[in-house]
Subunit: 360 residues, 4 copies
């Protein structure tokens, strides 16, 4: 199990290096008979694409994709669905100086430590470009979920300490995409936009927090005791490049509450118990309880900065690095569709696991 696959029932495998011939994704376990909307996939990919706005990386990927298998006459076959993404706008020469130099807080040194060699061009396998396959697979998962009434919405909640106020019970994609920042708080968004532009002007980078809500998740998704829904969400989110934290429900903030205030009282609802608060984030004992599944993901500031840095090369010598290449001053706006995709992958996996109904 060498690490490039995720999921048990809806199993996603990605492949490809940033500057190799192509990247791709294979999904094994797509339910058969789904009418696949490729426009939906393209729309999700467009949200992830660099060069989509003034505050993202200027790398221009068309992100055109080709479906290679698993679909016949518009419907999924139940066989592996493979999608291919050719690499086109690669400027590999930009990376020649990185062949023997380890960029700070990148994966250069650690890939060498793990494998004994690496493709240094554009981050190789560790590039955020790898997430293109995740987003495409997530878009397939999302179509399965939407047919079940499950909706996943993420947004930028905070950048560089600039917070926002968002009603997670109503926020939708149109609110999120109303500005380049993907922050649906109309007061916070311009402040964040300005902060990103200011950081970029200084050759620096910013981090922040994405929040996500999953509405319509039925009760009973999640498998004790290790494959808890929030455990699988945590893993999926921490597998995103630059992610350094995960909270489910009340998260770190909830640690300062008392149990009497934190507990979510049950009251009768139209289709089963509901809770009057949702500090649990829709998950109790690792299993969904029918309330919205809410969580957040922390992203560190982008490691590629535009000022000289002290580092070492692969011969162990101290050197000074002058970064080149094309990067985002802040990954948060483009992280939103990635967080959504990973959430869709985890939810569809658990939904497929759950479909079997008790005998009694």
């Amino acid at each position: 199990m060498p690490g490039n696959s995720l999921g048990r029932r809806f199993r996603v495998t990605t492949f490809g290096e940033s500057h190799g011939p192509a990247l791709g994704v294979v999904i094994d376990g797509v339910p058969p008979g789904i009418v696949l909307d490729l426009g939906h996939v393209a729309a999700d990919l467009a949200r992830r694409r660099p060069g989509q706005s003034a505050i993202t990386s200027p790398r221009r990927e068309a992100d055109t994709f080709e479906v290679l298998s698993g679909v016949f006459e518009g419907k999924t076959l139940g066989t592996p669905l493979a999608m291919l993404f050719r690499n086109t706008d690669v400027k590999s020469a930009d990376y020649d100086n990185l062949r023997d130099t380890y960029r700070p807080s990148h994966a250069d040194y650690t890939y060498d430590a793990r494998f004994g060699l690496r493709d240094h061009r554009g981050g190789g396998r560790a590039s955020a470009r790898e997430t293109v396959g995740r987003v495409a697979a997530g878009a397939v998962a999302r179509q399965v979920l939407l047919a079940q009434g499950i909706e996943v919405v993420a947004w930028v909640a905070e950048v560089a300490g600039i917070g926002s106020t968002v009603d997670d019970t109503t926020v939708g994609r149109q609110d999120v995409d109303a500005n380049d920042v993907r922050c649906p708080d109309v007061a916070a968004a311009p402040a964040i936009d300005a902060a990103i532009r200011a950081a970029r002007a200084e050759g620096d980078t910013l981090g922040g927090i994405v929040r996500c809500t999953c509405r319509g998740v039925p009760p009973g998704l999640g498998s004790p005791v290790f494959d808890k829904l929030e455990a699988d969400l945590a893993k999926a989110m921490l597998s995103i490049p630059a992610a350094k934290g995960f909270e489910s429900g009340s998260g770190y903030g909830g640690t300062t509450m008392r149990g009497s205030a934190h507990n979510d009282p049950f009251v009768p609802g139209p289709r089963g118990p509901v809770t009057t608060t949702n500090h649990s984030g829709g998950i109790q004992g690792g299993i969904s309880n029918g309330m919205p599944v809410n969580f957040s993901v922390a992203f560190k500031p982008v490691a590629t900065i535009f000022s000289p840095q002290s580092t070492v090369n692969d011969r162990g010598e101290a050197v000074t690095l002058k970064p080149r290449g094309r990067h985002d001053p802040c990954v948060l706006p483009r992280a939103v569709p990635i967080v959504e995709a990973m959430a869709c992958l985890v939810l569809v996996d658990h939904w497929l696991e759950r479909v079997w109904r008790p005998a009694g």
Copy 2:
């Protein structure tokens, strides 16, 4: 893959209900030829045990264990190592009132939603009692790691907002176990102890944060792109009962830093590059870089409180719950060995995965 196993190379499966005949753990993938120190296992179990101090649950589990297989003449065989824990001090009648009632923020309703039935006694499979097998397995893993010079130390960093100051480069188990709270800050520990006693006196409960450091982790542990070291740590930690958050390295706090301050500069070290700061928490691109692996886990306040609560029963009717049974006012002191155990399980799994060396 129904959820009760963790790990790929050092694969742990736990079984058992809180008030059933027994709990247990099977480890498949223990390296052969290890001289197993059962006293070490017993010592780790003693730290997890309820009734160990004035601020933990009065349930008295001897936590005696029996090794059923996988060991011959004191050495591991490379075959599955099974350990058994009999349930003894069970007071199942304490739980009769829970047969049809869903406790708020417990797993009662969600287990019913998942499986259509549940063992309501003592939380059944969702009980924190299940972690006994994790701690025992972690103690086996720890022995493998210690032989490689890898040391794992966790402690209570915060309870109910009461923080602490701990030097994570030097803190050891004797510091942690110097007080009942397992907080090595001698100023904070008494304050936390008092807060826990106060909460208990009011029938209420507290949450908090455990921090953990793993020293001596060699560079190169972790598998891109999904089985990243911090992704697997996140999953392992979020699979612990009551865990609601995970941070790797700088975590949420790091989101407010700029890249130029957050990046960890490399400098030449005696056995390869080292970094002068460790915001990365010892992991870059999902792979260890040789610096200490640092992370934290957030625990919500215990859901069992001693005041009446509004809830519903399994017929959908509103009822009032008066909890009984025996529980901790704060899980943090006992969570320390569990966090360590889960860290050991993840690290040994990745260490075994890594042992294969490149051909060149």
Copy 3:
């Protein structure tokens, strides 16, 4: 994935050495709400037990078992079901001479080669005693299958070249268990019985063939392209000690037929297509077609014989081995319930995989 587990949805893990404290099995993925009949489990175990007749090993295992978890008030919980088998009638001293000697065609040398050490007593982990957990797990699986109208029947078809004629469309357990040999051909059974007694009298051993039919298997079980139903059956059968061959449907005999004779014509049936012949053994393209699933398993003669043998010890020296201990002159009669158990485990795994229905 270190080798002691089988199945994806109904996942069985066995543990234990022949002369260690105990053996056991953990099943993760048992459907919840099944009324478990422990008498059914005991009955299957009794068929596997040594000492059950004049032609089996005299080792006397009571094979009493204890259910440790996963069952509450007689019903399965959907949580891991663990069963324990204590080792009692062990005569470990019988094996002292094997501590450093490799028995021919046993697993002594290969376990040393794999692990660097072994438990030499009674075959250790490689003992046929390990199958006790398989049979118990198979009995749980069989109850799930019987509720779906799926019936699994195996029998001894051939021993030492003495064949039999059995109508696989009607043969039932009562026919199989009508004699000690478990061969339902009343002419062949006495001949086989005599052959086994004659071999035992000479201190020698015999091999043979078990056939198995699975009736009532619905169409659609099996997953292309690697997890084909017959591929998983082949793996399960070749994992039984002493198994050296597997045939599905016409098997080796079918290789001499022409396609025009081997093809199974479809004709309309009451609940979908049926075939007028069944050379396919109920499986086409790796997926069941609704006809009985038929296969055979070849077992080599038992390796423990009672005459001196030339071999080597763990220092590489040539030595002469005089075997002691208690063994069967022919494993075939006791292999019948093991083959059935493994078939049940594979079928229930694929049945659980299949339950999800196409959307259209």
Copy 4:
């Protein structure tokens, strides 16, 4: 785990339909730093290709392939290695009559039963065309094995009952490829060739047996108790289209021997114990013993024949089928490289699993 992946350490996933845009394979777990010889891959693919001789299907696949990832400057990166095979010479109109008709002994009906729909063109996912990815992956595995001195050779041992005599200790690829039949017995090959031509002239098809030997396999490969080397070989072989049987070592023939004759005596060898006979087929207790690993695979006669057949359509009506399309009168010659590829995949998986050495 939906069925299109094989292996735990060297994990192969194939995708693609026979008449879709492309087929492909992703290998996760290729050791890093291997100098990959693409000519070696092409050579293995050429042996599998239809149209290679007068006695195979006339479908002309160039089987040109593209490496999409996992290789940099000629060396493997340790990241997923993906290979793509475009479908070119597809004559889908040949299959229009199969849209609603179930060919006897094909996978048409069973795919419908499994998935509710299928791609009827050229067998869709169930086509032997799928094996192109297996052979390519096997060629990568073979390069890893050859560097360890492990050599895998298969040949046609029997067709339509016409047997052969081959010295499995010396036979090499040049012997096998000396004739179109791939039978290294110079007397048997012409007879088999004639039989295949005669069957084709009559519109009929033949089956047969492939044998395979793996030399240089070190002792200690294979994992008790379910992932035995021969269990994994059995699964891999039975996953090949048209395979219906598997024998390890003496197999079915060995069932008529007595233990005293079947046991393989150990004698001291230059690098450990060797056996004077090899009825075990190089595997004892599921683990390799250092002797050649020998096995056979039975293939049924090809299901596509050129005479009218009675069958049913997807509305359950009896119809008469007149097959069209392009097929082999006998798959055996082209099965040889597929059997070798599957053997290489299993061996490399176990070799990688084994590399970790005991501590003591």
